[in-house]
Amino acid sequence: MNGFPTNDFVALLPIAILTVGALAVLLSEVFLVSGRRGYQAAITVVFAVAAGAAAIARPYSGYVFNRQAVVDDFSAFVTVVVCAGLALSALVGAGWLRARNAERGEFYGLALFGTAGMALLGMATDLLVAFIAIEVMSLATYSLAAYLRRGKRPSEAAFKYLVLGAISSALFLYGSALLYGASGSTLFGELAKGRGSPLSLAGLSLVAAGIAFKIAAVPFHAWTPDVYEGAPTPVTAFMAAGVKAAAFALLARIFLSAEAGTAAQATAFSGVISGLAVLTMIFGNLLAVPQRSVKRMLAYSSVAHAGYLLVGVLSASVAGVREKALAGLLFYLAVYAATAIGAFTVVGALERRSRLDDEPADAWDLERFAGLARRRPGLAFAMAVFLLSLAGIPPTAGFIGKLYIFQAAIGAQLYGLAILGVLTSAMGIYYYLRVVVYMYMRPAAGEAEPLSSAATSVALAAAVAVVVVLGLVADPVIRLAQAAGAILL
């Protein structure tokens, strides 16, 4: 009998904490005697913080479960980002759901389960583990999208997300099968073995297509606007922050494993990724322009940001700039998580509510932002900070992230992608600043007071602090991200 694999279990500590938290919230919901559920968000935040702390403390580092997963700085960084995203989303959700009298333990339980999947995805170095992690994450987010199931929009969004997500899972699985056929292993470390064979190429492409769906890269993005708009706003924030970060972590690991030791940008696989990046940057930004619904605009903006992040992944394949590219990627993911949650929170605070859980078509119209600076200067300021960060205007953290990614792209001699990135970013300024113009320069439309709650304000303040502080003193976090990128693989 072999020894007890303590390390394997220790490595899963953050995931275990999140799962226990999920079960605790779920069970507390059914054993509840009073109608007061304020503690649920608190439990969620506590468990999220505990999981993040466990990831930072990291009692064990290295490969576990026969090299099917790894605990390293990279996974720790991803875990911390998704846990922070969870904590913020829970705070946001508390205020938003209470206003709709829809606060239930299931919301927090599902979010905790999903975060466990995301954390596992950041650790996965095996196609099957990755698939399981994707499914854990996805099933939770499908359900969360349908959380307000009485409404038409949420259920439609969840249905679309589920069906298309199933297709993407099928693509990922099929690709994994082909890769297994090509290299005889599902481990990332063995992917490079079958390189060059048509089987391996097809496998990688299909796996990439499956992940492209999760990160909302064009042309696998079609679900994004519908789902982001239809899902309850805190859920949208959670998806934008967590799913994207975890899926990008997976993509970076697979891409760098498969491309290990090749001449940069010469392979067909990098061709696929750069094609996705080009399409995503162009169409993500183009499609965001005509949107009048701010929530939908932010959904397309999420697509556009996936494009910039893909450029970061691509640059990381060049040995000299890998560290910088991965640092930029991780920093960008962290900042985007905070920014997206913040922006969606403001959208959620402003949306027009109807009697059912259904939102009218103009629930997130630009008009609702008119004169916000007068009605709620704090809220307008926060939104302006988030939008400026999304647009990549200094001194916000979004600028630093873009700067690092485009610098890495230039270092990797991806001049075309860098130039396209800068040009499309400039396009982004148009639709981001339009909201700012409405907030600060249009008279108020005389709408009802925006939603306000203490928990939401805390989350907003935290997000603003992250965006501003990281914009001013990015260095410590960049250094952490650099360390995380340095020892990947």
Partner: protein
Amino acid sequence: MLTPLQTYFPIGVALLVAVGLAALMVALANLLGPRRPSVVKSTPFECGSEPAAGSPRERFGVKFYVVALLFIVFDIEAIFLYPWAVLLLPSQGYPGLGWAGFVSMGIFVATLVAGLVYVWKKGVLDWAD
């Protein structure tokens, strides 16, 4: 040495045999069987009784789905438990899953129990509404 694709060959053969057998049976029945239709024979039936009246797209209780899902969950648990039980202890030079396997399955079952408690308290198993 077989290439990875060549290892799939037996599966392909099995697939061919399955499809071929099914096709053969349907074809034989069509060719050989007598055909004497009557009103009674043409009437649709369902589990020995007449199907419910109205549109076939009629909506019915979502409980069916929930119960079906629960069935699948515990079905799969059973499927896991069988091979696990066989492999847990060492035999014939095989080291066995050991304590690691025991703890893993313990966590799995405990999670399912927690889920069962949840659905129970939620009233899913309570058929009468």
